[in-house]
Each structure stands twice: as structure tokens, then as C-alpha cells.
């Protein structure tokens, strides 16, 4: 919708009827964040060695791939006026589940992925059911689900991480291994400009971003989801099966999170109980930063992708400028606050 509006606004500027000139404030709201991103990239290119290289670009994309995928999923729930706090734990549960399937049960890569996707679907359905039919507020339902999953993923191994050759609680040694095909998801790189450049996770991120963007902006299902989020009662009286749309949004979010979990497991090559702590906050931040992109002031897939990218660029640039790692969260928080100011203060000034 944002792209459409930009296009039509541009068209209007050249049109014969009374020209609507964008004021400076409107321009700032619309393009401010993109200009900021561009400025940041130029700045780092000028002041660091090696920022302006394909490797560095790919590194940035790789660093935000998994959070980006989760953020795209949570965008779907934001669109229907909900929220999904369980995405981080769905991702780690998927990671643990895929490891368990392969290492402990000796399953193959395909089974492992299928189990993960199923987990995503089931969690999404349960979230949706709690919110739609049990009338539990979205934040509380998904918070409960988050706790539940964090606990659940530890039960099969009694709290241990899963790695090839690990000792099971009963003293036996796990016989399975991570399948090479599965590990390839984390390690294979496609040739693009340079040989062995683009990792699978980045390709998945880009594909999913395009799919969800197209879905939300150009299909009637996406439009209806926005309608549900904006005025549920009006959407219902316009014939929309509101409950189905809401539940679908949580299923999308669950599936995206489990895809993120698969990629995480493939990258780490183990089911690490301690990883994925930052996933939830980082992806929510990306989705919220997305509100500011192109002055949308609402959840949107393009903005979410840009939001994730923004955080990645900033962190990579700062790292290359030797900023200490412990300042990262502080920087992310700062970006989020600025983005929210862009969205809400600037666009809702009195007329």
C-alpha cells in the first residue's frame, strides 16, 4: 500500500489538476528513514575499511536473516491488530525439535523440517484459538505460550543442549547425527557476483519478504487482514470471516518463526539451549521500526525488512568502527525510539 501511495503521489505531482506539493514535514515523514539508512551506509563506507564490499553486505544480511524472518511473521499479527510474543520461543523450540529428531531419533533432514513447520502451525493455531475463542488478550496468550515453550523444549533432554554424540539422561549415547543436507541450510553459499557468496538464510529471508509483502499489499486476503486490524466490526459486516483471518495471522507468525528456528539449528549445528535469547526483542524492534518507513504508520512487510536491515547495517558499521559489543542493545534501543518518534510524533502533529 505504501508503494502504491508513493507512486500515486508522484503521479499527482506531475498531474494537471491542482498540484499537491508535499511540505517539508511530509517529505521528512515519508522518506526520512530511508534517507537516514542511506546516509548511514555512506558514512560507514567512507569511514571504515571494507564496509563497501559484497562480503560485508552479505554479512549484514546474514546477521539479520533470522530476526528478519521472525519479524516478517510478527508483522502479520500486527496487521490484524494482534501481537505475538511467542515467536522467539517458537524458533528455539523448532531448533531443539529438529536437533532432537535428527540426533536422538535418527530422523532425516526432511522429517526434521516437517516437524518444525508442524510445531509452528500448531502453536499458531493454539495462539489463535486462545485469542479468538477464549478471548484471552493477545499479549497475555502469547506470553503464556512463550513460557510454555521455553519450558517444553527442555523436557525431552532434561535441560541439556543437543549435539552429536551427546549423553542422554538415561546414560546412553545418542546415535544420530545432523544430516549433511540439513547442515547445508546453514553452511551452503550460492554464487552471486562472487563465488560462494550468499548463504541460504539470506535467500530464504529475501524470498519470504517478497512473499509476505506481496500477500499483504496485493492480495485480497492481505487487504482483509488490514481491515480486521483497523476496524474488526466493520470488516465482519463487510463479509470477512474475521476469526479465520486472525487465526491465520498467528499461524503465519508461527510458521515463520519455526523456519527461523530451522535456519538457526542449521547454522549452529546443535540444539543450543542458551541461544536465541535476543530473537524476540530484535524482531519486534524491526517490525516496529518498519512503521516509520515511508511514513506508513502501520505494520508493513517492506518496512519490517528495512527495519531489520537498518539494525544490521548499524551494528555491522559500529563493529567495524570498533565499538564494543556491549553497546549493541543500547544502539538498537536508540534506533527504535527514534523510529517511533518518526512514526507517531511527526505524523500526528495538529493541523
Amino acid at each position: 500500500m505504501n508503494l502504491e501511495q508513493t507512486k500515486t503521489l508522484n503521479a499527482a505531482t506531475g498531474a494537471p489538476h491542482p498540484v499537491h506539493k508535499l511540505t517539508i514535514r511530509e517529505l521528512a515523514i515519508k522518506y526520512g528513514f530511508l534517507v537516514l539508512l542511506l546516509g548511514l551506509i555512506l558514512f560507514f563506507c567512507a569511514f571504515t575499511n571494507g564496509f563497501a564490499s559484497p562480503q560485508s553486505a552479505v554479512f549484514i544480511l546474514q546477521s539479520v536473516a533470522i530476526t528478519g524472518i521472525l519479524a516478517l511473521g510478527v508483522t502479520a499479527t500486527l496487521v490484524v491488530g494482534g501481537f505475538d510474543l511467542s515467536i522467539g520461543s517458537v524458533a528455539t523450540t523448532a531448533m531443539m525439535a529438529s536437533s532432537y529428531v535428527m540426533v536422538v531419533m535418527g530422523g532425516d533432514a526432511f522429517t526434521a523440517m516437517l516437524v518444525c513447520i508442524l510445531i509452528g502451525v500448531v502453536v499458531g493455531l493454539i495462539n489463535g484459538f486462545l485469542i479468538v475463542y477464549m478471548r484471552v488478550p493477545d499479549l497475555l496468550a502469547t506470553l503464556g505460550m512463550m513460557f510454555l515453550l521455553v519450558g517444553l523444549q527442555r523436557i525431552p533432554t532434561e535441560g541439556r543442549s543437543i549435539a552429536t554424540g551427546m549423553t542422554m539422561p538415561d546414560g546412553s549415547v545418542a546415535s544420530g547425527t545432523f544430516s549433511p543436507a540439513f547442515l547445508a541450510l546453514g553452511r551452503h553459499r550460492f554464487d552471486f557476483v562472487l563465488p560462494n557468496l550468499v548463504p541460504v538464510s539470506v535467500v530464504v529471508l529475501i524470498l519470504l519478504a517478497i512473499v509476505i509483502w506481496f500477500f499483504l499489499e496485493y492480495t485480497r486476503f492481505g487487504r482483509m487482514m488490514y481491515a480486521v486490524g483497523s476496524n474488526e466490526r466493520a470488516a465482519q459486516l463487510a463479509g470477512a470471516p474475521v476469526n479465520a483471518y486472525k487465526i491465520s495471522a498467528y499461524v503465519i507468525s508461527g510458521v515463520f518463526a519455526s523456519i527461523g528456528g530451522i535456519l538457526l539449528a542449521a547454522r549452529l549445528g546443535r540444539g543450543d539451549i542458551a541461544s536465541g535469547n535476543n530473537l524476540l526483542l530484535d524482531s519486534v524492534a524491526a517490525a516496529l521500526i518498519g512503521f516509520a518507513v515511508l511514513g506508513a504508520a502501520k505494520p508493513n512487510a517492506f518496512g519490517t525488512a528495512i527495519g531489520a536491515l537498518f539494525v544490521g547495517v548499524l551494528l555491522q558499521g559500529l563493529t567495524m568502527m570498533n565499538a564494543p559489543y556491549y553497546t549493541q542493545d543500547f544502539v538498537k534501543g536508540g534506533v527504535l525510539v527514534i523510529a517511533l518518534v518518526f512514526t507517531f510524533a511527526l505524523s500526528q502533529r495538529r493541523r
Binding site: E4, Q5, T8, P18, V19, H20, Y218, T219, R220, F221, R223, M224, Y226, A227, G229, S230, N231, R233, A234, A235, Q236, L237, A238, G239, A240, P241, K298, R350, R351
Partner: protein, 502 residues
């Protein structure tokens, strides 16, 4: 009785981008006088109100309150100065997540010198006092979001009255009230007039205006086009001045129905109400009238699949019709223009064409992909046909005036042919001339479908219907052909029946 004006507006101007809305408005409000501001949809009435109440900034002009320059930079400042407003958009006047008592006392808790710690019992006592002064009989502990729009409107009004205003501004306060509630409002307004409050009253309802007006000011295209203060007031002159033309007469030639389209047999809406039967024929326009709360909306929603009847069945074109969802109803060609557009119609995040296409996205999409071109074509057709005042079909809904938003809501359901078109209070906020035009459009397009209109105002029923049915206590109690109507009998059915049982 000529008095000094307490509130004076001079040369007020306001534009949105290139679009000039107010082009130098002069207006005076005098203490103890109700000034009615009349103007067609989009004339700039609400914009004027938003400026004097501190919501919008003005481009030019001078406002004085009791001789002092008045230029509020926020709504709170305007209220503190004694200029109190009830806005057209009801939800601007209440906080949906709080209960009634807190809403009624919110400004006390908020104002300067408010106590740091508040005593819930005292809040409730104060709220009860405010409610009593308004004759409000609402549960004070109910949450606003659980109330009907009419109740919310009453809370918003009560809250405004509680401020001890010097100047009170009411922007279409009766648009969702029943006549009983409106009567209570009128009495309070008259009490305030007697106490010397200067009142600006905006309405499209002639019955309100006849009842309250001391002075009428007509606004046309952002300029004052007439001031009427000599008794008896020249209502017709005021209407002509606001329209810039003579209004078309609302006479209609009554038609008979062709074959039945929708038939409801022994329909029972609530467990205690009496079942009734209803037949709607092709080509006819049927109005159902009755007081607010007698089940008009319940019947509309039953026909549209939002709720199921307690008992009874329906047939549509001879086939069984028992919709379990609005989607099923729409697929069978039964459409509902719901009342209270802000709640039930408008998707605020969407622009005009996205709002119009909403129910029919499936029909105008290819393989699930929406066709913006057809959406915009549909919207442009409706904008032209209903005379929606806007810059283009891409305008945001929030930039339209109330009456124009309503036209978009009706237009939405005229984009596709229907078997049964149900309209629940379709004229809310629409000006007199546009109302006549809309009624004429609905009648002209009525061939080939059955049209059912729910209205509380009798005038509206007379202007549009071939048959008028009366509803009371969730059942139908009378039927009239809209020619040589026995008005006394009609009124008795509306009121008498009600009293007999209630």
C-alpha cells in the same frame, strides 16, 4: 433583546493544502441564545468547531471570548476558558477503556488544582450527580466500549455539560439518539440557555432546529450565506441559503411490489417477543420505523446473518435462506448498510476506494490479487453518483466530512447489484438536500431488488418508502401504504403499543 455577543469570530479562514474550507467566517454567539449553524455536507461546520475548540489551528481570523482574545492551543485550554464542545465523532468525547463514572469526572481529576489522590467513592458520587442532572440512566460502572453509541453520545454530552460552560458547542449531537433521549438533551440545553450559556448547535434534523433555534446562521462553501433572527424564523429561507438553491420536494409516487423476493415466516427475534411475518417484494421500498431499541437493528442483523432468530424461517426467491455469516448473506445478494458508520462501517486506515471495495474484493480480484484499477473505477462512479465532496478516490476517510463519509458507506453497497438491500439509518449525518437525492437514487435503482430501510425519523420514511411498517417490542405492529397515511394511527402504533407493554 439585543445583547452583546460573548463569543465573536471574525474573518476565520482555514485551508487544507490547496483546498480552502473556511473563507472568512464571521459569527457571533450571544449569552442565553441558541444559534443553529446550518450547512450542507462539507460546508465546513465541523472544521469551524474544531478550530474554536482548539483541535485545529486557524490560518487567519480573530476570535474573542467576553472581549478577550481567545486562541486555544489545545482542547484542554479551550475547556478551561469555558468553551466546551461535543464533537460530531462521538468517540472523540469519551475514553473507551474507562467506565462511565470515570468518564463523567475525568476533567475534574485532570484539571488544575485536582487532588493528587482520589477517592473512588467520591468520584462515583460526583459522577452520579452529573448523570442525574442529565437524567442519565446508565450503569455508572459499565465500560464505555460496552455501551451503545446512543449511550456513549449521552455520556459525552453529560461530560461536556458538567464543565459549567460559558460557550457550549454541539456538533450533530442527536444523530444517533432516539427521540426520547433527544428530548432529554433538549431540556438540558434549554436549562443552560436559561442560565445564560451561549450555545452553538449544529444539526441536519429540522425537528431539532425547529425545537431549539433562536437564531439560524447558514454556512455555504465556507462562507456565511444567511443570518435569520427575526421571529418567526424563516426555516425555508435558511435551508435555501445553506444550499444556494431551492430544495427539491420529497414527493414520491408509490409503486406496488412485483413478485416476493424475501419472505420471513413467524420470525421471533427475542425469546419473549411475538413472532411476525414479513414479505418484501421486488421493486418496492419498505421502511420500518419505530423508537430506538425496539429491535430494528436486531431485525436488520437477522436478515443479514449477523445473528440467528430465536425461531422462524426465511426464504429468498423461493429457496431457503438461513445465513450463518455475513459472507453467506452477501453471496446470496443480501446487503446491509449498517448504522453508526464509525463503529460498523468505516475502516479508518483505508482510503475511499479501499473502503468502497471492501465487501466485494473477491468479485473484483483475479486469483486473489486485487485490481486497484477496478476498485478505483467503482469508487469514482459512486463518488460522482452520490456527490461525495472529496478531492479524489484516494482521500483518507478522516479527511471527509461526516455526511460525505456516510455517502461513501451507502455507495459501498450500491456498487454491486443486490437481491435485498437493507439500510439501517442510512441518513445519519446527511444534509437535507443530499438526503432527498439519496432517497431518489435508492428509489430509482430499486427495480429488480427489494429495499428495506430502517429509520427512526418519520419524515425520512415518508420520503423514501412505498410501504411503512411499524416496529415495537421486537415485533411488527402496523403496516401502511405511503399514500393517504393515517398519521395518528401510525403515531399511536409507534408510541401507544410501546407504552401499553412497557
Amino acid at each position: 433583546m439585543v445583547q452583546e455577543a460573548v463569543f465573536r469570530i471574525e474573518g476565520l479562514r482555514k485551508s487544507f493544502g490547496p483546498n480552502q474550507v473556511l473563507g472568512g467566517v464571521d459569527l457571533e454567539l450571544r449569552a442565553g441564545v441558541i444559534t443553529v449553524l446550518m450547512g450542507a455536507n462539507g460546508a465546513g461546520k465541523s472544521t469551524l468547531v474544531r478550530i474554536v475548540s482548539g483541535v485545529y489551528d486557524r490560518d487567519a481570523g480573530r476570535i474573542t471570548l467576553a472581549g478577550q482574545v481567545f486562541s486555544p492551543s489545545s482542547p484542554a485550554e479551550a475547556i478551561r476558558a469555558g468553551v466546551v464542545t461535543v464533537h460530531q465523532n462521538i468517540n472523540d468525547g469519551v475514553v473507551a477503556d474507562l467506565d462511565v463514572a470515570t468518564n463523567l469526572t475525568l476533567d475534574r481529576l485532570n484539571g488544575r488544582g485536582a487532588p493528587l489522590v482520589f477517592n473512588p467513592r467520591r468520584v462515583r458520587r460526583e459522577a452520579a450527580a452529573v448523570a442525574a442532572r442529565m437524567g442519565l440512566s446508565i450503569d455508572l460502572t459499565a465500560r464505555i466500549s460496552d455501551l451503545s453509541l446512543a449511550d456513549r453520545q449521552m455520556v459525552a454530552i453529560a461530560r461536556a455539560m458538567a464543565h459549567e460552560p460559558k460557550v457550549l458547542i454541539l456538533d450533530e449531537p442527536t444523530s444517533s439518539l432516539s427521540s426520547a433521549e433527544a428530548e432529554r438533551l433538549f431540556q438540558v440545553v434549554e436549562r443552560l440557555r436559561a442560565r445564560g450559556v451561549a450555545i452553538l448547535y449544529i444539526s441536519h434534523r429540522m425537528s431539532d432546529i425547529r425545537r431549539l433555534a433562536d437564531t439560524i446562521v447558514s454556512l455555504r462553501d465556507g462562507r456565511i450565506s444567511g443570518i435569520f433572527e427575526d421571529q418567526p424564523l424563516d426555516y425555508e429561507g435558511a435551508v435555501n441559503a445553506m444550499l444556494g438553491k431551492k430544495i427539491s420536494a420529497g414527493d414520491i409516487s408509490v409503486r406496488a411490489a412485483t413478485a416476493p423476493v424475501l419472505h420471513a415466516a413467524n420470525l421471533q427475534l427475542t425469546p419473549t417477543s411475538r413472532p411476525f411475518s414479513l414479505t418484501l417484494g421486488g421493486g418496492e421500498v419498505v421502511a420500518i420505523t419505530g423508537l430506538v431499541g425496539v429491535g430494528k437493528t436486531a431485525l436488520a442483523e437477522t436478515l443479514f446473518g449477523v445473528r440467528a432468530p430465536v425461531s422462524g424461517g426465511m426464504t429468498l426467491d423461493g429457496a431457503d435462506y438461513a445465513p450463518r455469516s455475513t459472507r453467506q448473506a452477501i453471496e446470496r445478494g443480501v446487503f446491509l448498510v449498517a448504522k453508526d458508520r464509525g463503529e460498523n462501517g468505516i475502516v479508518p486506515g483505508f482510503n475511499i476506494y479501499e473502503n468502497i471495495s471492501l465487501p466485494f474484493l473477491k468479485r473484483i480480484s483475479n486469483f486473489g490479487i486485487t485490481s486497484r484499477r477496478s476498485e478505483r473505477d467503482l469508487a469514482r462512479t459512486q463518488i460522482a453518483s452520490l456527490g461525495v465532496v472529496c478531492r479524489s478516490e484516494r482521500d483518507e476517510m478522516s479527511t471527509l466530512s461526516g455526511g460525505n463519509q456516510q455517502k461513501v458507506m451507502v455507495g459501498r453497497w450500491l456498487t454491486q447489484a443486490s437481491r435485498v438491500l437493507i439500510l439501517d439509518e442510512p441518513f445519519q449525518g446527511v444534509d437535507i438536500s443530499a438526503r432527498r437525492d439519496l432517497a431518489a437514487k435508492l428509489r430509482a435503482s430499486a427495480i429488480g431488488r427489494a429495499t428495506l430501510v430502517f429509520v427512526t425519523e418519520l419524515d425520512e420514511a415518508f420520503e423514501i418508502a412505498d410501504r411503512i411498517l411499524v416496529m415495537s417490542e421486537h415485533t411488527l405492529v402496523g403496516e401502511h401504504r405511503n399514500a393517504d397515511i393515517n398519521v395518528d394511527k401510525l403515531l399511536a402504533e409507534i408510541a401507544g403499543q410501546h407504552q401499553m407493554v412497557g
